[in-house]
């Protein structure tokens, strides 16, 4: 068991062994020389005497072997005894043992789970070849945080013209229907260049990868299945390689199955080459330089770094801009950007992970301090027992080793249980992190984590086992010298324990403040009114097939038919189409905007607004009140007199006190001047914690005729889903329908991350508080118990109970106070790191800090009540009798 123990001994042994060998040598030499001398005294010559002595002795080597055997055996026997004694001792003190095991369990389990998350998300390399060299190639635009992908011609140009990138590969994803082998399935399809997986260094599990030939225009369409889809939906049948499926009216042959991969850039069911995607190979997209929707992955060529590569791409972009000025308008300010793939997958999760790691570390420290204190107190209680053993001949080192073994045994048991706890919390943690990083699925409780948990428990065992053993000497002597009942009020023993109490209070303080700040931030977020009145509105993503409904009027007719059919479903109260539903930040168009007929210069700084596309029923369906003017109507389809609605923020920011109704606004890069006919209330379109952007709502009739999100208000919308699907299918059987959720669910989803973080930290803080409070109570009980006699004497000499109480409280107050001060200082310093996660309050929010101080003060007071009561009610006679 006590591996560490054996290890420590092995090392000590190695150092001591050399010396012992030398000593043994010398001893035997002395013996043989003495024997030789005695023979010489009897008259033998030197060589004869020596030979006789050696004969008498037998073989010195054999003797040495025998001694070494005895040493080794003794060591093992001692270890076994140590462990046996440790276990026996622990059985006699079940409360202490249980406390240690439970606290080590919680601390190591939580630390283990968080370690496994940190490792999997941040440190473990991606399952791609040389993932440090993989980069995403994007464009940034001036005045917007949204990045753009590349257009198909650009991919080819970059591929040909860049010296620093080795192989470019494109990716985008769509939803298609998969037919054949069972019922039709809606599949998320990754459309990739033929070299995509080769670039990543991913080899198929079964079958073969795409080859360049698969990407040719006339090539037979092929398909690669993702591991998860193949296993879960298709039964994991290896015979599927070579099977045929129908997609988009074409026969696709399955050429292979991929190994399990992280769901990045998206979770896809199948993959097809670019040539097989009807949209991508369509005229519109394949040759458009401005359709920048492709995710591009590239590898850094050997010898280049990201900075050089970016400069290289900038040069290339400038050359392309000269050749195709229309595709690179100055106003957009397009600049290429390279992002390491790993960073793009983990950036969102890092702050949260580091926060959790800090919390776990604090809890571990707290637990260590608590256990140390507990053990010191235990030790003091056992002083007489240990002093006796010392007097009977046990060496100090031996006793120290025994104590260390006890600590190690306890900690290892705790660590073992902690692993089970960690295993359980792993899935919780992964479930929470999946929103922040696609690597969450890679979090595993593997051998490395097991090693970490064991190592941590050993470290804790070391701390609680060794430190008391190290400082034992003095107190033992004191125990032997006096009658064992001397109260040591000051001195080193109490100082250590006091320091530990201060540390515990400080750690709980820090954790409580962190949790408090996050909880209040969460509370603020929950109270934010999203702005819509009907949270039970159902949203469905019905991505419009732009090529199928090629022209505006065709699309408009389709949209109107769709709305009509949906309205016909019994129970439906209102239906609308929109580009997006509230609290969904996907694909928002944010543009420069100006009042008047002239389009503003997109390059120049100035006000921007989100450009929204909605059907006229949108506001009524979702429940956004009209503040001024009129609603959009179906008749507003005249492009000559384009009308739009704005939100209150737009009116306030761009018009101030002026009446916006009737005014014209134009967007940068656009030609239409929109007349404002109404103002609607603000809605949080982006995150609840973000300020509302100015928004302009244009009718779908003037914006292409269609939009991809369907919103339905009905009494029990969830129950109507099949009927709604049927209604949509009645208009177009091939219309994909995805992502069905209510607005309330969207709101909850946007709060999921802050909720989880606050919950986790809250648990840690509560744990810390409980541990610190019980630690304080325990230490107080012990130290006041030691001072019983002193109190008895004081009372006998006339001290009032109040006086005793003041004495006790004064001391406790001093400790707790120092702990609070330390904790507050540390918290103030470190809380700054939380600022990015806080909404509606500063990291130095005085209310939170004050509340935490109050909570800790109250807890500390409650914790010391039992001990205080006992101290006050000390009957002087009883205490004095103990003399």
């Amino acid at each position: 068991m006590a591996l560490w123990h054996r290890l420590l001994h092995r090392t000590k042994d190695l150092l001591a062994r050399a010396r012992r060998e030398r000593d043994l040598d010398e001893e035997i030499r002395f013996h043989i020389e003495s024997a030789t001398e005695s023979y010489r005294e009897r008259g033998l010559s030197e060589p004869e005497a020596r030979r006789a002595a050696l004969v008498d002795f037998g073989g010195p080597d054999a003797a040495k072997e025998g001694v070494r055997d005895a040493w080794a055996f003794a060591l093992l026997a001692e270890l076994a005894t140590d462990v046996r004694l440790a276990l026996r001792g622990l059985r006699k003190r079940p409360a202490y043992a249980a406390t240690v095991i439970v606290t080590v369990l919680l601390a190591t389990g939580a630390a283990g789970a968080i370690f496994s998350a940190l490792w999997a998300v941040i440190y473990r390399p991606l399952p791609y070849r040389d993932d440090g060299q993989l980069l995403l190639v994007q464009y940034t635009q001036r005045g917007s945080t949204d990045t753009l992908g590349l257009s198909p011609p650009e991919v080819a140009d970059f591929q040909a013209g860049s010296r620093s990138l080795d192989g470019l590969s494109e990716y985008h994803n769509m939803n298609f229907t998969l037919l054949g082998h069972g019922e039709p399935r809606r599949v998320r399809t990754g459309v990739v260049s033929a070299n995509y997986f080769d670039l990543l260094g991913v080899r198929p599990l079964l079958g073969r990868d795409f080859v360049a030939g698969d990407d040719a225009a006339a090539a037979r369409p092929v398909l690669l299945l993702s591991y998860r889809f193949w296993r879960d939906e298709l039964g994991g049948d290896p015979a599927l390689v070579g099977a045929d499926f129908t997609m988009n009216d074409k026969t696709h042959t399955v050429i292979g199955v991929l190994p399990p991969l992280p769901p990045a850039p998206d979770e896809n069911d199948v993959y097809m080459p670019v040539a097989a995607c009807p949209f991508r190979s369509g005229e519109h997209w394949a040759h458009s330089r401005v359709a920048r929707g492709l995710v591009v992955v590239a590898r850094l060529r050997a010898g280049f770094d990201a900075k050089t590569a970016t400069a290289d791409l900038e040069l290339l972009t400038r050359r392309l801009a000269k050749s195709y000025p229309d595709a690179y308008p100055e106003r957009l300010g397009l600049r290429p950007r390279l992002v390491p793939v790993r960073e793009s997958m983990t950036a969102a999760a890092r702050p949260t992970l580091w926060l959790l790691a800090a919390a776990a570390l604090t809890v571990v420290l707290l637990v260590c301090a608590n256990l140390l204190n507990l053990t010191l107190a235990q030790l003091a209680r056992r002083e007489s027992e240990l002093a006796l053993r010392l007097s009977v001949g046990a060496s100090r080192g031996r006793i120290a080793r025994q104590l260390a073994t006890e600590g190690a045994v306890l900690a290892l048991i705790g660590g073992g249980c902690g692993m089970l706890f960690g295993l359980a919390s792993r899935s919780l943690l992964a479930g929470f992190l999946v929103r922040l990083t696609p690597r969450a699925s890679e979090i595993r409780f593997d051998l490395l984590t097991v090693g970490f948990v064991l190592g941590l428990s050993l470290l804790i065992g070391l701390a609680i086992g060794l430190v008391p053993a190290l400082r034992r000497q003095r107190s033992l002597l004191a125990a032997l010298r006096a009658d064992g009942a001397t109260a040591t009020v000051g001195g080193r023993s109490t100082r250590t324990r006091d320091a530990l109490v201060v540390l515990q209070v400080a750690s709980s303080c820090v954790l409580l403040i962190g949790a408090g700040l996050l909880l209040r931030s969460l509370w603020n977020l929950e109270r934010v009114q999203p702005g819509f009145r009907h949270p039970d509105v159902l949203t469905l993503a019905a991505p419009m097939n732009w090529t199928k409904y090629g022209k505006d009027d065709v699309r408009l007719a389709y949209s109107e038919r769709l709305l009509q059919h949906l309205r016909g479903v019994p129970g439906v109260e209102a239906v609308a189409l929109a580009d997006n539903y509230p609290l969904s930040a996907d694909g928002l168009w944010n543009r420069r905007v100006a009042i008047g007929k002239t389009a503003p210069d997109p390059a120049a700084p100035g006000p921007t607004a989100d450009f929204r596309t909605v059907s006229p029923e949108y506001f009524d369906t979702v429940g956004i009140p009209l503040l001024a003017g009129r609603q959009l109507q179906a008749s507003d389809r005249d492009a000559e007199h384009a009308v739009a609605l704005i939100n209150a923020t737009f009116a306030h920011q761009l018009f101030g006190e002026r009446d916006p109704l009737g005014q014209l606004v134009t967007f940068g890069g656009g030609t239409t001047a929109w007349t404002i006919v109404g103002v609607v209330a603000d809605v949080h379109q982006r995150a609840l914690g973000e300020a509302v952007q100015p928004e302009i709502y244009a009718p779908i009739a003037l914006r292409g005729g269609g939009a991809s999100t369907v919103l339905v208000r009905a009494r029990s919308a969830a129950a109507l889903v099949p009927a709604l699907r049927a209604a949509i299918r009645a208009v177009d059987p091939e219309q994909p329908i995805l992502d069905i959720r209510t607005l309330e669910e969207a709101r909850a989803a946007s709060l999921a991350a802050p909720r989880a973080v606050a919950a986790l930290l809250g648990i840690a803080a509560t744990l810390a508080l409980v541990i610190a409070a019980t630690g304080l109570a325990g230490i107080l009980a012990y130290s006041l118990g030691q001072r019983q006699r002193e109190f008895g004497i004081r009372i006998a000499l006339g001290s009032t109970r109040l006086g005793i109480a003041r004495l006790v409280l004064g001391r406790t107050g001093g400790l707790v106070g120092s702990g609070l001060v330390l904790g507050l200082a540390v918290a103030l310093f470190t809380a700054r790191g939380l600022s990015s996660m806080l909404f509606g309050l500063a990291a130095s929010d005085p209310q939170t800090y004050a509340t935490v101080v109050a909570v800790l003060a109250v807890s500390a007071t409650v914790a010391c009540l039992p001990a205080l009561r006992r101290a006050i009610t000390t009957a002087p006679s009883l205490a004095l009798r103990a003399l």
Binding site: D23, L24, E26, E27, I28, F30, H31, E33, S34, A35, S38, A52, D56, F57, G58, G59, P60, A62, A63, K64, G66, V67, D69, A70, W71, F73, A74, A77, E78, V392, G393, A394
Partner: protein, 111 residues
């Protein structure tokens, strides 16, 4: 020169003898060997090499302790000393041995 080969000593017996010798006073390894021979009227000659493993065992059990000191002729030697626990062990082993030998004696001299 050694006399006729002495009876083989069992390991446990050797331990007891060493303890007894040390009960008479601290001694180094060579001295212990001499003493055993001396007290037993040269009946018992310890295989001197086996002495040291025995001493190591006894030390590990805590029955004797060893310390470096100076011998009679001013040379460095390791002196062993009986501990209290060792004293108890010696008493136990003496009693066991006497009982055992008495029993053997009874059997061998029966009839």
């Amino acid at each position: 020169m050694p006399k006729n080969p002495a009876p083989d000593l069992l390991q446990g017996t050797l331990d007891a003898l060493v303890l007894k010798v040390l009960a008479l006073g601290p001694q180094h390894g060579w001295g212990i060997a001499q003493r055993i021979q001396q007290i037993s009227d040269s009946e018992l000659r310890v295989q001197q090499g086996s002495l040291y493993p025995a001493l190591a065992r006894l030390e590990a059990n805590g029955w004797i302790t060893g310390e470096w000191g100076t011998s009679e002729n001013n040379r460095r030697a390791r002196f062993y000393q009986l501990t209290t626990a060792g004293g108890h062990q010696l008493a136990r082993e003496t009693e066991d041995w006497l009982r055992l030998s008495a029993a053997v004696h009874r059997v061998l001299t029966h009839g």
